[in-house]
C-alpha cells in the first residue's frame, strides 16, 4: 500500500520533471550555471564582477535562468560542479584558479558538459579557459601610481604567494619604473595559503608598515585582504588601488583607481556563445587589446586623476596595444627580470 503510494509519487514527480524540462527547452536550449569562488558571491571583487557583469546581465537580457552555486569552502566546489553537470547544466562557469582541479575532475566525468574556467588552464576537450594579461593592466596602474606618488615610494600587497599574484606585482613594478626609473616599489605577500585572500587585519598591518617606509600609493591584489589595505590607506589619507572589480566607490577620495579584470565579460561571452551555438573549448587570453583588463576612471576618482595623468596612462595603454611596449609576464619564466 505504502510502496505503491511512493511509486505513484515518484512517477508523478518524474512526469512533472519531464514536462518541466520540455517547457524549459521550449524557452531556451541551454541551462547555464556558475560556481562562484569560495570567497563568496558578494566579495566586492572577483565573484561579484562575475555576478554583476556576467550572470545578472545575461539573465536580464535573455531571461534565461543561470543556476548559481555558492560554495563556502573548496571541498564543496567539486561536489557542486559534478551535481550541476549531472543535472544537465552547461556551460558551467568556474570562477577562480582554485577550481581548476574540480573542473578537471568534473570535465572527465561529464564529457558532454561544457565548462568555462576563469584564470587557469585545464587541457580538456570540453573546457574553455579564459586567462587574463593581468601584467598589462597592472602596468597601467603602476604608471598612474608613479605619477601620483610624492615620496617616490609605492607599495604592493599580494594575497597568496603564487605566480598569478606575482604577475600583478611584477607588472605594477614595470609600469612604475617605466614612468619613473628611480621609484622604489615595496612588495609584500600576505601568506602562503588561500586564507591569505581573507585576512584584512594583516592587510592593514602590511599597508601601515609600507606607509611607514614612505609608500604613499598601495596596490592590493589580495581579494578580501584588500579591504584592510584600502581601509588603512583611507585612515592615513594615502592612496590605494583596487583590483578585479571597479572598487573606486569603496573609499572615494583615496581610491586612486582600480585594475579592472573583466571576468564578468568572460562569463557573459561564454553563455552567449553557448546560446548561439558558437561555444568552443580552448584557451582565450584577454589583455588590454581584447578589453579583458583595464584601469577604472569614474566619478569616484575623477578628482584624483588630472588630465595630464589620464592622457599619459591612455597613451601608455595605446602603446601596449600597439605592441610598442611589451610587458614582461611573471608566469612566463617565474621571475621578474625585465
Amino acid at each position: 500500500m505504502k510502496k505503491t503510494a511512493i511509486n505513484k509519487l515518484v512517477k508523478g514527480l518524474t512526469v512533472a520533471l519531464a514536462t518541466g524540462a520540455v517547457s524549459m527547452s521550449a524557452l531556451a536550449d541551454i541551462k547555464p550555471a556558475v560556481v562562484y569562488s569560495d570567497a563568496g558571491k558578494f566579495d566586492k571583487s572577483f565573484s561579484e564582477a562575475v555576478w554583476n557583469n556576467g550572470v545578472k546581465r545575461f539573465m536580464d537580457e535573455t531571461g534565461i535562468e543561470v543556476k548559481e552555486a555558492e560554495p563556502t569552502n573548496l571541498a564543496q566546489v567539486e561536489q557542486y560542479m559534478k551535481r550541476l553537470a549531472k543535472r544537465g547544466h552547461s556551460p558551467i562557469v568556474a570562477v577562480g584558479f582554485s577550481q581548476a582541479n574540480a573542473v578537471a575532475a568534473a570535465a572527465k566525468e561529464y564529457p558532454d558538459a561544457q565548462f568555462t574556467l576563469i584564470d587557469m588552464v585545464v587541457p580538456e576537450p570540453n573546457v574553455q579557459n579564459v586567462v587574463f594579461k593581468e601584467h598589462e593592466g597592472s602596468f597601467l596602474v603602476g604608471v598612474l601610481a608613479a605619477m601620483k606618488s610624492d615620496s617616490d615610494v609605492i607599495g604592493f600587497v599580494g594575497g597568496m604567494d603564487i605566480p598569478l599574484i606575482s604577475r600583478f606585482g611584477c607588472g605594477y613594478e614595470q609600469g612604475a619604473k617605466y614612468q619613473n626609473a628611480d621609484i622604489k616599489v615595496i612588495h609584500n605577500m600576505t601568506g602562503s595559503t588561500p586564507a591569505a585572500f581573507g585576512n584584512p587585519s594583516k592587510g592593514a598591518e602590511l599597508t601601515r608598515s609600507q606607509m611607514e617606509s614612505g609608500a604613499d600609493v598601495i596596490f592590493a591584489a589580495a581579494g578580501g585582504t584588500g579591504n584592510g589595505v584600502y581601509q588603512a590607506a583611507a585612515d592615513a589619507g594615502k592612496y590605494a588601488i583596487g583590483v578585479d572589480s571597479n572598487q573606486n566607490h569603496l573609499h572615494p577620495g583615496t581610491m586612486l583607481t582600480s585594475m579592472v579584470k573583466r571576468v564578468g565579460e568572460a562569463a557573459y561571452q561564454s553563455y552567449s556563445a553557448a546560446k548561439d551555438g558558437s561555444w568552443a573549448p580552448g584557451v582565450q587570453v584577454m589583455g588590454l587589446a581584447e578589453g579583458g583588463v583595464d584601469w577604472a576612471l569614474d566619478e569616484h576618482n575623477r578628482g584624483l586623476v588630472t588630465q595630464q595623468m589620464e592622457a599619459r596612462v591612455n597613451d601608455v595603454k595605446a602603446k601596449i596595444i600597439a605592441g610598442e611596449i611589451v610587458v614582461h609576464d611573471y608566469m612566463s619564466d617565474n621571475t621578474c627580470n625585465y
Partner: protein
Amino acid sequence: MDFSDLWLTFLLTLDATLRLATPLVLAAMAGLFSERSGVVDIGLEGKMLAACFTSASVAYVTGSPWLAMFAAIGVSMVFALIHGFATITHKGDQIVSGVALNILASGLTIILGLSWFRQGGQTPSLTQEGRFLSIELPGADLLANVPVLGPLYKELLSGHNILVYLAFALVPVVWWVLYRTRFGLRLRAVGENPKAVDTAGISVNGLRYRAVLIGGVLCGIAGSYIAIAHNAAFTRDMTAGAGYIALAALIFGKWRPIGVLFACLLFGFLQSFAMRIEGVPVPGIGAIPVQLIEAVPYILTVVLLAGFIGKAIPPKAIGKPYVKER
C-alpha cells in the same frame, strides 16, 4: 640609515606589536579566568568571532561603537553560558564543547551575514563614526621633536584606540583580582582543588560560571577590537587563529597574568617583525620567502617552550568536571 631612523623603525615595529597583541591579551585574560577555575576554554576563537560579527553588524546599523561593543559582549556571554551549561551543569567534555562552539560561530556568522547583508558573509564597511578611532595623547605633537623620547611618546604610546589602552590596563587589574581578592583566592582554589572549596561551603559551579562569564565579557571586547577598531567590517573567519595563539600564550605565561602579557607581546612582536622583514633583502641570504616568515612564530614557540620556559604546570583540576557525590 642613522640612529634616529633605526630608532623610529624600532618604535614603529613596537607600535604594531601593541596593535597586534591587544586581541591576544584580551583573549588570553579571558582564558586565564576560565582555566584558572578549571574549565578549559578552547572556544576563545569562536566567542571572539561571534563578537566580531555582532559588533560589526550593530555598529553598521546603529553607528555607535559602544553599543556595538556591549552587544558583542552580550553575544559572547551567551556563548560562554552555553559552554558553561554543557560542561559545568551537565559535566560534558570541555574540549568537545569548545570546538563545537568554534564551528558554530564560524558557520553561523557567515549564514547570518549572507541573509542580512547579502555581501558574501561580510558586513558593510563602517564609516568612521561607527568605529573606535585612535586617540592622540595630549602633547604628542608638542613633544615629537624631543630626541629619542619624543618619538617614543608620539609613535609608541600615543595614537592607539581606547581598547588598546583598556587591554593593557586590564592586566594589573586581573592580577589584583586573582591574587588580592577573596573571589580570586576562591577561583584559584576551585581550579586546584574543588573538593576543598566545596567543603568550605562555597559553590564550585557558581564560581566556575562566574569565571566563564568573565571570559565571555573579555572575548566580547577582543572581538569588538578586531572588527570595529582594528578593521572596519566583519569578514569571514577574521580572527584568523588569534584564539589559539592566545591559548598558547596562556601556557607560555604559565597561567599567570604578567607572564601571559609578555607572551602575548612576544607573539605580537614576532608578527609585526615578520611583516617588516618580509621581502627585504638580507645580506648573504637574499629576500626571505613569505613561507619561512610565516613559520617563524611557530618555530620560535616550539624552541622556547622546549628550551627556555621550563615546565608549565596547568591548574590541577583543569578539564575535570566537578562531581559532588558518586
